[in-house]
């Protein structure tokens, strides 16, 4: 019989949440499609190692693969933060995918992850993120003086430029952080996942779509040695599977986010949006932040330059 690859994957997502369920379903498909040869067991956030330690753990081979937000690895190389989110510079998730697959993004990500003995299979994105808060956030000037949770990275710099104090916190401590007022507001992936961890219980306002992240790019990565041992047919299967995973992740998240927003409004949360002038202003500040971020590391400059070149080509920026 063919060799069965029994792997373990850890994700940033909490078991039962939308992100987790999308991944769980896709992994079942992968097992079926590989005739049972690729059997990957999924573990929730922190059940094997903490989210910030995941890259190390995969590199060391503690588990074979993972699905995570590269922002958690910004301490390793600031380029990871640029891969994760460019605030409102990206306009849509399909833009990111076009860049990844046809304008050199995939190669850059592989070069970056390769340094840590990890193979980058491909991206999986979610669209616009919300900001949930205890104080009303209706215009950019409302951000002055508030404490806001972020995962770190470029978004922190953006908030700083608006006069807010960014606080770095893992998703697990977010609820308590808002509840106890350590932060006034929080950005944490998709609206649906905000709802799953109950942030509507401890906030009163939801800014959606927000200006700080039109897209968030998570990724599926595999320990390099484990990847190398995989036969070619399974490698090809996995690559096309990530393509499918990305679609499921994106669409399921959009669907669940629409439902979540409905539920939050019903619960009495106030839904706010920025004016188009403020959105344009936020995009300009985002560009400034990105240009400064290039100085942080050579890889960071390579990634951001490549993205900006692509966006110039499409005419999205000047």
């Amino acid at each position: 019989a063919d060799k069965v690859y029994k792997w373990r994957a850890q994700t940033y997502a909490v078991p039962g949440s939308v992100g987790y369920k999308a991944l769980e379903t896709s992994l079942k498909d992968l097992k079926a499609a590989s005739n049972g040869r690729l059997d990957i067991k999924l573990y929730g956030v922190g059940s094997l190692v903490g989210p910030f330690e995941q890259l190390d753990a995969m590199g060391m081979g503690i588990f074979e693969c993972g699905f995570n937000a590269p922002a958690y690895y910004a301490g390793k190389d600031p380029a990871f933060a640029a891969l994760f989110s460019l605030m409102s510079i990206w306009e849509s998730t399909s833009d990111v995918k076009i860049w990844s697959y046809y304008f050199g993004g995939l190669e850059l990500a592989r070069e970056l992850y390769g340094k840590y003995k990890v193979h980058y299979v491909g991206p999986a994105l979610v669209g616009a993120e919300p900001i949930m808060s205890k104080v009303p956030l209706k215009q950019l000037s409302d951000f002055n003086g508030i404490k806001i949770r972020t995962a770190g990275g470029l978004t922190s710099e953006l908030f700083k430029k608006l006069g807010a104090s960014p606080v770095k916190m893992g998703g697990g401590e977010l609820y308590t952080g808002l509840d106890t007022g350590v932060v006034d507001a929080a950005e944490f992936v998709s609206l649906a996942e905000n709802h799953d961890i109950g942030l509507q219980e401890v906030t009163e306002y939801v800014l959606y779509p927000s200006f700080h992240g039109n897209t968030a790019t998570c990724d599926f990565t595999v320990n390099q040695k484990a990847w190398n041992k995989l036969p070619d047919d399974l490698k090809a299967l996995m690559e096309s599977w990530v393509f499918e995973l990305d679609a499921r992740f994106d669409y399921q998240s959009a669907a669940e986010s629409a439902r979540a927003l409905q539920k939050m409004k019903k619960k009495g949360l106030v839904h706010t949006q920025l004016s188009s002038e403020d959105m344009a202003k936020a995009r300009q500040i985002s560009l400034d932040v990105a240009n400064e971020w290039k100085k942080k590391s050579p890889m960071s400059a390579k990634v951001i330059d490549s993205i900006l070149d692509y966006l110039k080509l499409t005419g999205s920026i000047k």
């Binding site: 753990a57 081979g61 503690i62 509840d179 106890t180 219980e201 401890v202």
Partner: protein
């Protein structure tokens, strides 16, 4: 390796080595690493450094050294002395009144302090000699302190809830609120038991002599003064958490500073008291955190090997009523609580049981509090009960372990009754968290 076989090998070697007397921290840590080595090779052993690093970076864990320090400092400050005097003047006239006052003192202390050790030590030093002197029945006196002190687990703040919250990702704020109802229920049960028992049998806990009871009302009211510092501390710690000022970890820092100030107010603040408290804290932190490190390595290896998933699938697939599964889990915890350290049980078993409970459709917050109710019994249950050890350390030398073991039995029975009440009427736990979320 098959997860079933892994479960048998890991847990049987764990219990065997533990029973032989190897410290818990080294047993779990080393076994986790040995199994990781044989299953996946030397590189997998690096899981130890990743787990340690993860704990070192937790916002919530900082509460442990700070609450332990706070408890040690409060002990030196002597504020509990005045408090006990006041409570005792008010209720000492009843048969069993001093024991009831002891439970009240424990409850107030529990609302200030995050650790059981400080509760038991303080009460043991103050109330025990007093009760012995008044001719209280030995077991009545000892039992009230051992059980009352364990209320520290339930009445927030509580490092047990913090360790649980960090381990399974449950909201610490909600767990704290969930502990209030059961804490008051258990305290009430103890007091009712004491008063009824002493009413029926006055020799168990005689009333205070007439001359002590005849304190003029104006003096009785003046004794309220002694409540100022404790209430200030409770407001400082719990108020800063629920007033939206601080995380539970930071609130512990507020409490620690508050305890230092209390010592200052009572003229007990000097380098000796401060440094002694710090050194004692270091010892306690060492034993707690290294149990956490060891247990985390053990459970990471077990989970990576598919063990946790195996237990979940097996328990969920049992052709049993979900309630029966819950009761089985409770009985397992009850037995382990007799012989195992409480932190160890939490870090080892909460990650295995919580997914089962969620899958069966129970409320995970409710289960989190029930889990800690059960571990609260472990503080008392012989032979390995922290509360018993703490009291033994400060009790007069003629108090034997046998005395202590016997004294806890009625209180353990009450705890089991209380736990069943909380399972049958979940609102005892959930009313406050639900109220706060509204």
């Amino acid at each position: 390796m098959e997860p079933g076989l892994l479960t048998i090998l890991m847990f049987s070697s764990f219990f065997a080595l533990l029973a032989l007397g190897i410290p818990l921290a080294w047993t779990t840590g080393s076994l986790g690493l040995i199994f990781a080595f044989f299953l996946w090779g030397p590189d997998a052993m690096s899981v130890v450094v990743l787990r340690v690093w993860d704990v070192m970076g937790s916002f919530s864990m900082i509460a442990i050294p700070l609450f332990v320090f706070m408890g040690n400092m409060l002990q030196k400050s002597g504020i509990a002395h005045d408090l006990f005097k006041a409570i005792q003047v008010w209720v000492g006239g009843l048969r069993g009144g001093i024991a009831a006052a002891t439970i009240l003192l424990c409850t107030v202390l529990a609302a200030m302090i995050g650790t059981v050790g400080a509760d038991v030590t303080i009460t043991g030093l103050i109330a025990l000699p007093f009760m012995f002197q008044r001719g209280y029945d030995r077991h009545m006196a000892l039992g009230s302190i051992v059980a009352g002190g364990a209320l520290g687990v339930l009445v927030p703040p509580s490092i047990m809830f913090i360790v649980y919250g960090v381990t399974v990702g449950e909201s610490i704020g909600k767990l704290f609120m969930g502990g209030v109802g059961p804490g008051l229920l258990f305290g009430g049960l103890y007091i009712a038991y004491i008063l009824i028992k002493c009413y029926l049998d006055p020799s168990a806990g005689p009333a205070a002599p007439e001359e002590e009871r005849n304190v003029p009302l104006i003096q009785k009211i003046a004794l309220f003064k002694s409540l100022i510092l404790p209430i200030g501390l409770i407001l400082g710690v719990m108020g800063s958490i629920f007033g939206g000022i601080a995380t539970p970890g930071e609130a512990a820092g507020v409490g620690a500073l508050g305890a230092i100030l209390c010592a200052g107010v009572r003229k007990q603040l000097d380098w000796n008291n401060l440094s002694d408290s710090l050194y004692e804290t270091m010892k306690t932190v060492g034993l707690i955190l290294w149990i956490v490190f060891g247990a985390m390595v053990f459970i990471a290896t077990y989970t990576l090997g598919g063990g946790a998933e195996f237990v979940k699938t097996a328990l969920v697939a049992l052709p049993l009523n979900p309630w029966l599964v819950l009761i089985i889990i409770q009985v397992i915890l009850l037995f382990l609580g007799m012989v195992l350290d409480i932190i160890g049980i939490t870090v080892l078993l909460a990650p295995i049981f919580v997914p089962v409970i969620t899958e069966l459709g129970f409320d995970p917050l409710w289960f989190g509090v029930i889990f800690n109710l059960n571990l609260q019994i472990a503080y008392l249950s012989p032979p390995f009960g922290y509360s018993i050890f703490y009291l033994k350390a400060v009790a007069p030398p003629d108090v034997t372990m046998a005395d202590l073991y016997k004294s806890v039995l009625p209180y353990m029975a009450l705890q089991i009754v209380g736990m069943i009440l909380c399972m049958v009427f979940p609102q005892i736990i959930l009313w406050l968290p639900n109220l706060m979320v509204q």
